[in-house]
Protein backbone atom coordinates (compact mmCIF):
# COMPACT_ATOMS: atom_id res chain seq x y z
CA UNK A 1 0.00 0.00 0.00
CA UNK A 2 1.23 3.48 -0.82
CA UNK A 3 1.55 5.92 2.06
CA UNK A 4 0.73 9.38 0.69
CA UNK A 5 1.27 12.69 2.43
CA UNK A 6 -1.75 14.99 2.17
CA UNK A 7 -0.47 18.58 2.03
CA UNK A 8 -3.73 19.87 3.54
CA UNK A 9 -4.13 17.36 6.38
CA UNK A 10 -0.34 17.60 6.86
CA UNK A 11 -0.21 13.87 7.56
CA UNK A 12 0.78 10.60 5.94
CA UNK A 13 -2.32 8.65 4.98
CA UNK A 14 -2.99 5.21 3.48
CA UNK A 15 -3.74 4.80 -0.20
CA UNK A 16 -7.44 3.72 0.16
CA UNK A 17 -8.26 7.28 1.22
CA UNK A 18 -7.08 8.65 -2.13
CA UNK A 19 -8.11 8.66 -5.78
CA UNK A 20 -5.80 9.22 -8.69
CA UNK A 21 -7.06 12.10 -10.84
CA UNK A 22 -4.93 12.21 -13.98
CA UNK A 23 -1.98 14.28 -15.14
CA UNK A 24 -1.22 17.53 -13.31
CA UNK A 25 -0.49 20.97 -14.75
CA UNK A 26 -2.74 20.56 -17.81
CA UNK A 27 -3.99 24.07 -18.58
CA UNK A 28 -7.44 24.39 -20.13
CA UNK A 29 -7.45 26.84 -23.06
CA UNK A 30 -9.05 30.12 -21.96
CA UNK A 31 -11.18 30.28 -25.09
CA UNK A 32 -12.00 26.71 -26.18
CA UNK A 33 -13.98 27.78 -29.25
CA UNK A 34 -10.90 29.56 -30.61
CA UNK A 35 -8.74 26.42 -30.54
CA UNK A 36 -8.22 24.10 -33.50
CA UNK A 37 -9.41 20.51 -33.28
CA UNK A 38 -5.81 19.41 -32.93
CA UNK A 39 -5.19 21.77 -30.01
CA UNK A 40 -8.42 20.69 -28.30
CA UNK A 41 -7.59 17.04 -28.79
CA UNK A 42 -4.16 17.72 -27.32
CA UNK A 43 -5.78 19.26 -24.24
CA UNK A 44 -8.40 16.53 -23.83
CA UNK A 45 -6.61 13.33 -24.72
CA UNK A 46 -2.91 13.48 -25.41
CA UNK A 47 -0.71 12.72 -22.43
CA UNK A 48 2.90 11.75 -22.03
CA UNK A 49 3.54 8.35 -20.51
CA UNK A 50 7.13 8.70 -19.38
CA UNK A 51 9.31 6.19 -17.58
CA UNK A 52 10.42 8.06 -14.48
CA UNK A 53 9.03 11.03 -12.58
CA UNK A 54 5.53 12.28 -13.41
CA UNK A 55 3.38 15.02 -11.87
CA UNK A 56 -0.13 13.80 -11.13
CA UNK A 57 -3.32 15.10 -9.55
CA UNK A 58 -4.56 13.13 -6.58
CA UNK A 59 -7.62 13.66 -4.45
CA UNK A 60 -7.87 12.94 -0.73
CA UNK A 61 -11.44 11.84 -1.32
CA UNK A 62 -11.92 9.96 1.99
CA UNK A 63 -10.17 12.68 3.98
CA UNK A 64 -10.25 16.42 3.49
CA UNK A 65 -11.67 15.94 -0.02
CA UNK A 66 -9.15 18.28 -1.67
CA UNK A 67 -7.20 17.88 -4.88
CA UNK A 68 -3.43 18.19 -4.71
CA UNK A 69 -0.47 17.26 -6.89
CA UNK A 70 2.14 14.57 -6.41
CA UNK A 71 5.44 13.67 -8.03
CA UNK A 72 5.54 9.92 -8.55
CA UNK A 73 8.18 7.65 -10.02
CA UNK A 74 6.47 5.34 -12.53
CA UNK A 75 9.22 2.72 -12.19
CA UNK A 76 9.33 2.34 -8.41
CA UNK A 77 5.75 3.64 -7.77
CA UNK A 78 7.33 5.81 -5.08
CA UNK A 79 5.66 9.15 -4.34
CA UNK A 80 8.53 11.64 -4.15
CA UNK A 81 6.63 14.67 -2.89
CA UNK A 82 3.15 16.17 -2.70
CA UNK A 83 2.17 19.83 -2.93
CA UNK A 84 -1.03 21.91 -2.94
CA UNK A 85 -2.97 22.41 -6.16
CA UNK A 86 -2.07 25.68 -7.84
CA UNK A 87 1.62 25.44 -7.01
CA UNK A 88 4.13 24.98 -9.81
CA UNK A 89 5.88 21.65 -10.27
CA UNK A 90 8.86 21.47 -7.90
CA UNK A 91 12.27 20.44 -9.26
Amino acid sequence: MLIIRCPYCEANRPEPEFRHAGAAHIVRPLDPSATTDAEWAEFLYHRDNPRGTVAERWRHIHGCGRFFNALRDTVSDRILSTYPAGQGRPE
Binding site: M1, Y8, C9, E10, A11, R13, P14, P16, E17, H62, G63, C64, G65, R66
Partner: protein
Protein backbone atom coordinates in the same frame (compact mmCIF):
# COMPACT_ATOMS: atom_id res chain seq x y z
CA UNK B 1 -14.36 -4.44 26.24
CA UNK B 2 -16.06 -2.34 23.61
CA UNK B 3 -19.46 -0.71 23.85
CA UNK B 4 -21.15 0.39 20.64
CA UNK B 5 -23.91 2.96 21.04
CA UNK B 6 -26.17 4.72 18.57
CA UNK B 7 -26.25 8.35 19.67
CA UNK B 8 -29.43 10.45 19.72
CA UNK B 9 -30.19 12.88 16.87
CA UNK B 10 -27.94 15.93 16.74
CA UNK B 11 -27.71 19.25 14.96
CA UNK B 12 -25.08 19.19 12.20
CA UNK B 13 -23.96 22.07 10.03
CA UNK B 14 -21.16 22.27 7.50
CA UNK B 15 -19.49 25.65 7.19
CA UNK B 16 -17.17 26.70 4.36
CA UNK B 17 -15.34 30.01 4.48
CA UNK B 18 -12.09 31.86 5.09
CA UNK B 19 -10.49 32.97 8.35
CA UNK B 20 -12.84 35.93 8.75
CA UNK B 21 -15.83 33.59 8.42
CA UNK B 22 -14.31 31.19 10.93
CA UNK B 23 -13.70 33.98 13.46
CA UNK B 24 -17.21 35.37 13.10
CA UNK B 25 -18.80 31.91 13.20
CA UNK B 26 -16.76 31.00 16.26
CA UNK B 27 -18.05 34.06 18.12
CA UNK B 28 -21.66 33.22 17.22
CA UNK B 29 -21.23 29.51 17.96
CA UNK B 30 -19.51 30.02 21.29
CA UNK B 31 -16.18 28.32 20.60
CA UNK B 32 -13.17 29.14 18.43
CA UNK B 33 -13.11 27.02 15.27
CA UNK B 34 -9.89 25.00 15.01
CA UNK B 35 -7.42 26.02 12.30
CA UNK B 36 -5.02 23.15 12.92
CA UNK B 37 -5.73 20.35 10.44
CA UNK B 38 -7.70 17.36 11.75
CA UNK B 39 -8.53 18.82 15.14
CA UNK B 40 -11.80 19.19 17.02
CA UNK B 41 -12.71 21.51 19.87
CA UNK B 42 -15.59 21.07 22.29
CA UNK B 43 -17.33 23.51 24.59
CA UNK B 44 -20.40 22.46 26.54
CA UNK B 45 -22.79 20.67 24.20
CA UNK B 46 -21.24 22.07 21.03
CA UNK B 47 -18.24 21.00 18.99
CA UNK B 48 -16.41 22.23 15.91
CA UNK B 49 -14.56 19.69 13.77
CA UNK B 50 -11.96 20.60 11.12
CA UNK B 51 -12.79 18.60 7.99
CA UNK B 52 -10.64 20.36 5.39
CA UNK B 53 -9.01 23.73 4.75
CA UNK B 54 -11.83 26.24 5.26
CA UNK B 55 -14.37 23.53 6.08
CA UNK B 56 -15.83 22.70 9.48
CA UNK B 57 -18.52 20.41 10.84
CA UNK B 58 -20.42 22.11 13.65
CA UNK B 59 -22.20 19.78 16.07
CA UNK B 60 -24.78 20.60 18.68
CA UNK B 61 -27.72 18.98 20.45
CA UNK B 62 -30.87 18.24 18.45
CA UNK B 63 -32.77 21.45 17.77
CA UNK B 64 -29.80 23.67 18.55
CA UNK B 65 -29.98 26.84 16.49
CA UNK B 66 -26.94 29.11 16.96
CA UNK B 67 -27.24 32.51 15.25
CA UNK B 68 -24.70 31.70 12.54
CA UNK B 69 -26.58 32.89 9.45
CA UNK B 70 -27.17 36.45 10.73
CA UNK B 71 -23.57 36.68 11.95
CA UNK B 72 -22.21 35.71 8.53
CA UNK B 73 -24.72 37.55 6.35
CA UNK B 74 -22.23 40.01 4.81
CA UNK B 75 -19.39 37.51 4.27
CA UNK B 76 -19.10 35.03 1.39
CA UNK B 77 -19.57 31.60 2.92
CA UNK B 78 -21.56 28.39 2.74
CA UNK B 79 -23.56 27.12 5.69
CA UNK B 80 -25.58 23.95 5.17
CA UNK B 81 -27.62 22.07 7.73
CA UNK B 82 -27.09 18.33 7.31
CA UNK B 83 -28.53 17.05 10.61
CA UNK B 84 -30.70 14.31 9.11
CA UNK B 85 -28.13 13.14 6.58
CA UNK B 86 -25.95 11.54 9.21
CA UNK B 87 -26.14 9.30 12.23
CA UNK B 88 -23.64 9.13 15.07
CA UNK B 89 -22.16 6.10 16.77
CA UNK B 90 -20.12 6.11 19.96
CA UNK B 91 -17.47 3.55 20.73
CA UNK B 92 -16.25 3.14 24.31
CA UNK B 93 -13.69 0.90 25.87
CA UNK B 94 -10.04 -0.11 25.66
CA UNK B 95 -10.72 -2.39 22.67
CA UNK B 96 -12.35 0.35 20.60
CA UNK B 97 -9.29 1.20 18.54
CA UNK B 98 -8.75 -2.46 17.80
CA UNK B 99 -12.37 -2.87 16.67
CA UNK B 100 -12.04 0.15 14.37
CA UNK B 101 -8.79 -1.22 12.97
CA UNK B 102 -10.74 -4.12 11.51
CA UNK B 103 -11.89 -1.75 8.79
CA UNK B 104 -9.94 1.50 9.11
CA UNK B 105 -6.44 1.66 7.59
CA UNK B 106 -5.26 4.55 9.79
CA UNK B 107 -2.79 4.16 12.63
CA UNK B 108 -5.11 4.54 15.63
CA UNK B 109 -2.40 4.42 18.30
CA UNK B 110 -2.64 7.40 20.59
CA UNK B 111 0.76 8.64 19.39
CA UNK B 112 -0.54 8.83 15.80
CA UNK B 113 -4.20 9.59 16.48
CA UNK B 114 -4.25 11.68 19.69
CA UNK B 115 -7.26 12.74 21.71
CA UNK B 116 -8.95 15.66 19.95
CA UNK B 117 -8.07 14.45 16.46
CA UNK B 118 -10.81 14.11 13.89
CA UNK B 119 -10.69 13.07 10.25
CA UNK B 120 -12.75 11.63 7.47
CA UNK B 121 -11.52 8.17 6.61
CA UNK B 122 -12.87 4.77 5.63
CA UNK B 123 -14.39 1.91 7.64
CA UNK B 124 -14.79 -1.23 5.59
CA UNK B 125 -16.70 -0.19 2.48
CA UNK B 126 -17.94 3.21 3.69
CA UNK B 127 -16.59 6.67 4.44
CA UNK B 128 -16.87 7.93 8.01
CA UNK B 129 -15.83 10.89 10.12
CA UNK B 130 -13.80 9.57 13.03
CA UNK B 131 -13.23 11.64 16.15
CA UNK B 132 -11.27 10.59 19.23
CA UNK B 133 -12.89 12.37 22.19
CA UNK B 134 -10.87 10.55 24.84
CA UNK B 135 -8.27 7.78 24.94
CA UNK B 136 -10.96 5.08 24.79
CA UNK B 137 -13.91 7.08 23.49
CA UNK B 138 -14.66 7.57 19.79
CA UNK B 139 -17.46 9.23 17.89
CA UNK B 140 -18.30 8.22 14.34
CA UNK B 141 -20.37 10.38 12.03
CA UNK B 142 -21.80 8.04 9.42
CA UNK B 143 -24.07 8.75 6.43
CA UNK B 144 -27.51 7.76 7.71
CA UNK B 145 -28.08 5.03 5.14
CA UNK B 146 -24.73 3.47 6.11
CA UNK B 147 -25.31 3.55 9.87
CA UNK B 148 -26.61 -0.01 10.10
CA UNK B 149 -23.62 -1.24 8.10
CA UNK B 150 -21.20 0.58 10.43
CA UNK B 151 -22.92 -0.78 13.53
CA UNK B 152 -22.97 -4.36 12.19
CA UNK B 153 -19.36 -4.06 11.01
CA UNK B 154 -18.16 -2.97 14.44
CA UNK B 155 -20.26 -5.59 16.24
CA UNK B 156 -18.74 -8.24 13.97
CA UNK B 157 -15.26 -6.83 14.58
CA UNK B 158 -15.65 -7.22 18.34
CA UNK B 159 -16.75 -10.87 18.10
CA UNK B 160 -14.19 -13.10 19.75
CA UNK B 161 -12.27 -10.19 21.19
CA UNK B 162 -11.12 -10.68 24.79
CA UNK B 163 -13.96 -9.85 27.17
CA UNK B 164 -16.81 -10.83 24.83
Amino acid sequence: MVEIMVLPPARRMVLWGDTAVADRAGAAFGLALPHQPCRAVEAGTRAALWLGPGEWLLLGPDGDDPPLAPALADLPHSLVEISDGFAALALHGPGAARALSAGCPLDLHEAAFPVGMVTRTVLGRIGITLWRRAAAEWRLEVPRSHAAYAEDFLAEATRGMPGF
